[in-house]
Symmetry: C2
Subunit: 314 residues, 2 copies
């Protein structure tokens, strides 16, 4: 039986959304707070786009295009086509329905609301009952150092297809960034903290780097459970494996465990990584071995159950 | 033979666009300058929308939805649908392709460009060779006084369907508005000035009310030819007839002639209004009687030829 009541998750994009989709089938969504990376946020055509917030919001609102893993299902791209005709850059694939979110977000931000307030309002309008909080209301930009120069994350990731070797990652503006209202409280007051299977460097990394967040996690009373985004030395999606390797970390579930070892109680790893169990346990981290690849809603639900029941398996 | 070289037109929306579409088939579009009403401009969802500029731009770029008379052909409304879901007002029907124009216009305005510069840039990107100039780069808002209160033009026209009796019309901000760069020169240097068949109160009216424009028209050397938007006491489209009546003007081609009598040399009226010819001539205005209802491109071309050849018929 799952007795956890208040759950706080740290989340990036696609992998996180898949786990959270399972979680809201297992616990009342009102019990779930999700702290979301905004280091990938980007201004496009004068509009504020928050890719990770959107993926999670669309997923929890059952709007997500499950085939692509981003954007809204059955969307069209007629505005983007015309933007191309107007000689605008079109490498970031903004759908027509999707655009409505960015238009309203931008308008509300310009009216003086903070990103956390705008996010709450968008969630309310889309019927998302879980509480989504951006990691910060301040401007933080994930910058990726490559041989091609220092690129904003979306230019590295979407425009150039994550093809460049990663020489370094920095979070511009992080020193002065404050956690958004509710972030630290959600960590302190949680019964369970979940590290979603997101890129530890550029998705979870920025959240942990907001001054005050990491120390709050270390002090948290809640049992802290992570799901490794690296399975058999590879990521399901995205460049986490190559990025970790490029930065001198082991691209494995063990490497993930090490990055979180100062606050992580438990790591869920895939069956293919069973051999890593003992090494991870030597870091003082309990391990559950299970299927972590979420190909269906049922997979997400089962993995969510493992996350919530992890302490019984410690 | 048409010997006119530099043509300057004063224009509102749909009726103007239909005549201009004919004109660019009769003369090189590079010879045409169009001064366009911006009193109907409106900010929607944080985006700057210029309905009259758009109708003319889309028409001259062959993008216009000819059935509706506004917007872009084969457009979709997916963003608008989602804006509705986000509890935004959706009475102004923004298409997805159409939105790209407003997004880029807004972005360029925010970057510091003037509306006249942005318009030139949009026209260049869409391949419009005629020169479109907004009447002013300043903020002028056409306000319509009704029993329901004083409404911005688009609220009176689109949101409430032009159903209210019009008690008065004012142009907010007009006293301090300057003609956009090129407006006065286009009037002085023209060989032919054309008053398009647009609403004389709320389409041509704001242009004439920009300080300096009306006196420049009176002093212009060019032959000034208008086309009556009122045919048989009715407008083809829009509320000009009821608006003129409500404000105490005669809702007829004669009423139009009177409104322009201080600078108009020639008015083209419809065959159904032949009986008004003598009264208009008594104002010192020459008259051509012809078919003025443009149901096809051929109609537009023939009317454009009448406009250009009007002086031979005076």
């Amino acid at each position: 039986m799952v007795s956890v009541t208040r759950i706080t998750a740290l989340a990036g994009g696609v992998g996180a959304a898949k786990l959270l989709r399972g979680l809201v089938h297992v616990v009342p969504p009102e019990d779930l707070t999700v702290i979301v990376n905004t280091g990938d946020d980007v201004e496009l055509h004068g509009l504020h786009v928050s890719p990770d917030l959107d993926i999670i919001m669309y997923t929890l609102a059952s709007l997500i295009d499950e085939v692509k893993g981003w954007g809204i299902a059955n969307d069209t791209f007629n505005c983007l086509e015309m933007l191309g005709r107007l000689k605008r850059e079109t490498w970031f694939k903004l759908g027509d329905k999707d655009l409505a979110i960015h238009i309203v977000r931008t308008q509300l931000l310009r009216s003086g609301l903070k990103l956390s307030q705008v996010t709450a309002e968008l969630c309310r309008m889309l019927g998302v009952k879980a509480r989504l909080i951006p990691m910060t209301d301040d401007d933080v930009q994930t910058m990726v150092q490559t041989k091609h120069g220092i690129l904003p994350f979306q230019e590295y990731f979407v425009k150039r297809g994550a093809k460049d070797e990663v020489l370094g990652v920095t979070f511009k503006g992080i020193e002065g960034a404050k956690p958004a209202p509710g972030v630290l409280e959600a960590i302190s007051q949680a019964d369970r903290i979940v590290l979603c299977p997101s890129n530890p460097i550029v998705s979870i990394g920025p959240i942990l780097s907001i001054p005050g967040v990491r120390s709050r996690l270390r002090e948290a009373e809640a049992y802290v459970v992570g799901v490794s985004p690296i399975v058999g030395g590879k990521t399901i999606k995205g460049p986490a494996d190559r990025m970790m390797a490029g930065l001198g970390f082991e691209a494995s579930a063990y490497g993930v465990a090490k990055l979180y070892s100062d606050f992580l109680d438990h790591l869920i790893i895939d069956k293919v990584d069973e051999a890593l169990k003992e090494r991870i346990e030597e870091l003082g981290i309990a391990v559950t071995v299970t299927n972590t690849v979420m190909r269906s809603l049922q997979d997400s639900i089962e993995l969510a159950r493992k996350v919530l029941g992890a302490h019984e398996n410690a």
